[in-house]
Amino acid sequence: MKHLDRRDIVKGLLITMAAGLSSSCATISGAPARVVVIGGGFAGMSCARTLKKLSPSLAVTLVEPKQHYIACPFSNLVIGNGRPMAAQTFSYDRASADGVNHIMQAATAIDADGHQVTLADGRRIDYDRLVLAPGISLNFDVLEGYDQAAAELMPHAWQAGGQTTLLARQLAAMQNGGTVAISVPENPYRCPPGPYERASLIAHYLKTHKPNSKLLVLDSKERFSKQALFMAAWKSEFGDIIEWQGLNDGAKVISVDPAAMTLHTEFDRIKVDVANIIPPQRAGKIAQLSGVANATGWCPINAATFESTLYADIHVIGDAAIANAMPKSAFAANTQAKLCALQIARLLNGKKPIESKLINTCYSLVTPDYGISVAGVYQPDKERWLAIKGAGGTSPLLASRKTRRIEAQYARQWYASITAEVFG
């Protein structure tokens, strides 16, 4: 028993439950209950596989057009620090191996009354419960001059893939003494500390390879995640390379001119050599098309079950959901997915949902050997996920080099664990 991996134990637990649950996990006609999951990221892939483990008799379908998943966490190391994209790329093979039916199509419509999803090829699939895990879509309607074409000149790199390597190439091509700018949106957006980790790792690259260069962070906010930690580390690690300007400095980028490589704030017109524009975001496209997202662009949910407050039998997890105090992170998405799967298995068996606390941890790298973290413990209260006071918080402001190195190492181990759990 000593050799048992903890994950196997949890798998065992889930399967034990299934032994009691699966016989009743069926519709009135006797056919297995059908759960459709739209989106195959840290939320969707995790939810689909957990559902199948909990209730092997369930018919679980994963609707995800891509053949491979490209992970955002750690993709900031691809930009300027030589991490290969292969280390960010994962196969969906394990879904099929677990008995999940992976349909490589995009979902184009949801009929909530008829309990049907329409696919890009015109097919319609029925569900008893639907899980929406579409992640984010970039909102190209807000920032004047910034559209899909502009993103080819001024990459967002906020959905990992070609955009990530484009930004890496632009940095590599820039001359020593150039200016890089990162434009950061208002909350909420995917990965709250992400822009500042990116600023750090770009500065690390500049200091190492192009030390006369500058990095300008143009923020639409006055405060940001792990701010004191980042600011102190920027000074100690990079001297004057990073200059951060916030909302009160008039730094919010209002429009861009990609042909001229200029960014426009309320008072200024700034010419740069490399521009990383992280635009405002909203829930993935299908959430907008189906009306599961509200006027905020995100999806309101009942906290404990992740069921939409707008449509019955539709659950929303991950970045697309309004989970209040819980940030839009891969960690949060994965923990939400596992809880949501458990709740759906219970609901399909006529059992009441449970209340469970959830946690989040976000590591950020300042350099490859300098890690900091923020963590939280959360509990559901009707429509809100609330942070538990007294728990969570950031790494200490004063800590040894060794502590920062250990946290960088933990960050790597977290990435290895979570990607193995979700995709391995």
């Binding site: 034990t16 250990i406 933990y410 181990q413 290895a416 391995g424």
Partner: protein, 111 residues
Amino acid sequence: MLLKGGYFLSRRVLRAMALVFAVSLAGAVHAGNSLDPAIAMASACSSCHSAHSASSDAEGPGSLAALTANEIEQALLAFRSGERVGTLMNRLARGYSDDEITAMARVLTKQ
């Protein structure tokens, strides 16, 4: 082993099942049902603590598989009180009650 749905279970999972049956029978509870809140809470741990995180460096978060329930419980209590200093675990442990820590430790490993 083949279940009625035709699903093959690996030996490792079967061993885990046997363990879990022992756990739930010891608690005289209906399999799964009353353990669900603890299972749900404890399911977050594997994002960091798994065989994949175990490294040759003793400082890593590592797998919990080698620990007993009592060891996990005592570690969480020590992190919560600050008696043991970690990086993240102090911050996380403060979010849980005694009962929640006991329940999570039980479902994470054998009694």
